[in-house]
Amino acid sequence: MIFLSQIINGLQIGSIYALVALGYSMVYGIVKLLNFAHGDIIMVGSYVLWFGLSRLGLAPWLSVIISITVCSALGMLIEKVAYKPLRNSPKISLLITAIGVSYLLQNLSQLIFTPNPRMLPNFFPGYVSIGGAQFAVVTIVTIAVSVVIMIGLSVMVKNTKMGKAMRAVSENSDVAQLMGINVNNTISFTFALGSGLVAVASVLYCCSYSQIEPTMGSMLGIKAFVAAVLGGIGSLPGAMLGGIIIGIFESLTKAYISSQLADAVVFGILIIVLLIRPSGILGKSIREKV
């Protein structure tokens, strides 16, 4: 029974990692960029949510919508301002720009909101008892929302026009352009979608862990990145699988081995996977075209 509870705990944090990892994977798939500012969008989402709720006194649903909108817009803005001018430069320049954007967001938020932690209320209070173990409603909501989003995203990428455009750009953006696909719009859309998913993750995160601060996104972002690489970067089902594996391993390590080893285990898994299967669990090994 305890073991089941620990799995559920792992699924909860794993679902949040998975939502963030989806954005990493989509962006990498399309522009081959490791967007390290992605983790910090979760911080922006949380602060927008907090600002809407406690400073403007808005209803929770309205604050959530505003948070998603602001994050999506910010994702597009970052792409337009920081990444687009560098699209044809060496990949290392893009990577360093991404790290710069990440620090910019963190320090801006320290300046605007001060480094003091803030508390957010839980939108889904209450508990459910299942077979003797008690689960918070927010845990169930987190897992359910993540599952729905993942299914929705898969359907969208497979069946809609925009999804097809995304896949085409990710395979070969030059050819996609020749086929009449607007590459710039597709890339903007991908950034907006990824950042919007992070905003959803930030809402779920705030409901469970309540405390937000300007640097909250950095560790979370790195773990989500590990999840994306573990599952196979560029692969959407891989990002989901990676997030959940990381979450469950983290929870089980804390519960049965040692809480101090949890991070070591997470990064240890990454090293092992990279040694055995460099393209990740569900990643395709693609040879660089010459």
Binding site: M1, I2, S5, Q6, N9, G10, Q12, I13, W50, S54, T114, P115, N116, P117, R118, M119, L120, P121, N122, Y127, S129, A133, Q134, F135, A136, V138, S208, Y209, S210, Q211, E213, M216, M219, E250, S251, L252, K254, A255, S258, S259, Q260, A262, D263
Partner: protein, 384 residues
């Protein structure tokens, strides 16, 4: 001839410089304060800063030391050891203060106290309860009790106040404050016949305690000891209640301020007890005067950290006044430092947080007040 003239002029100039040194001694006296004004423990830092300023402003308004005022120089350490040592270096080398109040939380204070040994500058921490704070040199004092005292009080309260048979502990395994308290509490519980059914640790960056709490709740402890600061205690209490924990929470002085968290849901804090340095609902005149003055100025009830900050400022300023009365020159340097240290050791204060005298190790011996949270308000329930 010309050379001789220059020599004479220089000699005269030197005499004047010396004289101006003498003159400076009648000026204001500089005291430093290192406190976290931003970051995780800002609520503590601001409380200490407000209380120290309250005391020193009142002291200056009443005439200071024979008309000489106290200048307080404040630096923010964000509760971080490196920042704290930087602040210390600035106070000693560029501001040339004669004594320092600080730091506030245990981890930065340990760092600052170690850095201060070679300078031998008088240091008094209002609030750092870690046993080692005063162990490095003879220049360090504290206005609060040590962690050993409060961990023992908590264990005694668990036995006689809560009549618990079983207890569990969740603590920050990288934090000296938390681990020190955990060890003493564990030992004292064993002595008191309370069975410790589970001990779980977490690391500093953790926000998810559910794995550890799930293990703890499965052992059904009557009391959960959480030796950490208010933000963590709040998050632990919230997650424990969500996982179905029904016992009591027991915390230490770090819990003070938990009701000041913006946006906190106080219903998670029902059944929370913690040891503290003073209670606001007492009959003592000193406490009442302090609360009145503090409320008038800052429009809030002072927490225990504020009370300790006030007492620490009181002790230090009195010691400086005694040193001045003995004719000690108030300029930063070994002699001035040592004179103030000697005076602090002799101080006997009937302060806001009780009677304070220093033992040979420069610690105070006081009793702990146990406080509980009921419907979002603190209520003291006696000394243990």
């Amino acid at each position: 001839m010309k050379k001789r003239l220059i020599a004479v002029i220089l000699a005269v100039a030197m005499v004047f410089t010396l004289a101006s040194c003498k003159k400076a001694d009648s000026g204001n006296i500089k005291i430093g304060l290192i406190t976290p004004m931003t970051g995780e423990v800002a609520v503590y830092g601001m409380a200490v800063k407000n209380a120290v300023e309250l005391y020193i402003n009142a002291f200056n308004d009443a005439g200071g030391i024979d008309g000489r005022k106290i200048d307080l120089i404040v630096y923010d350490d964000k509760g971080d050891a490196t920042e704290s040592v930087n602040a210390y270096q600035k106070l000693v080398t560029s501001d040339e203060v004669v004594a320092i109040i600080g730091a506030v939380t245990s981890t930065p204070t340990l760092a600052v106290m170690q850095a201060s040994v070679s300078d031998n500058i008088p240091m008094i921490t209002p609030t750092a309860t870690h046993p080692d704070v005063t162990s490095y040199g003879k220049n360090a004092f504290r206005a609060c009790y040590t962690d050993d005292v409060q961990a023992i009080s908590c264990a005694n309260f668990a036995k006689t106040g809560l009549e618990a048979k079983t207890a569990a502990i969740i603590y920050g395994s990288e934090d000296p404050y938390s681990t020190g308290l955990k060890e003493v509490f564990e030992a004292k519980c064993e002595e008191n016949g309370i069975q410790i059914v589970a001990v779980e640790g977490y690391s500093a960056s953790d926000v998810d305690y559910k794995s550890q709490l799930t293990n703890i709740i499965a052992k059904k402890p009557e009391v959960l000891f959480v030796p950490d600061y208010y933000n963590t205690v709040y998050t632990v209490a919230k997650q424990a209640r969500e996982l179905g924990y029904e016992g009591e929470f027991l915390g230490v002085d770090g819990v003070d301020g938990v009701l000041a968290i913006e946006g906190a849901d106080v219903s998670y804090l029902d059944g929370l007890y913690f040891s503290n340095h003073y209670a606001t609902d007492t009959d003592s005149q000193a406490v009442k005067d302090f609360i009145d003055a503090f409320q008038k100025k800052y429009n809030e009830v002072p927490n225990a950290l504020a009370a300790l900050g006030y007492d620490a400022a009181d002790i230090l300023v009195q010691a400086v006044a005694l040193a001045v009365a003995d004719g000690v020159k108030m300029e930063a340097g070994k002699e001035c430092y040592q004179a103030i240290i000697d005076k602090i050791a002799t101080i006997k204060l009937d302060g806001v947080t009780g009677n304070i005298t220093f033992d040979a190790d420069h610690n105070t011996q006081k009793t702990c007040t146990i406080i509980t949270v009921i419907n979002g308000e603190y209520k003291s329930i006696g000394s243990y």
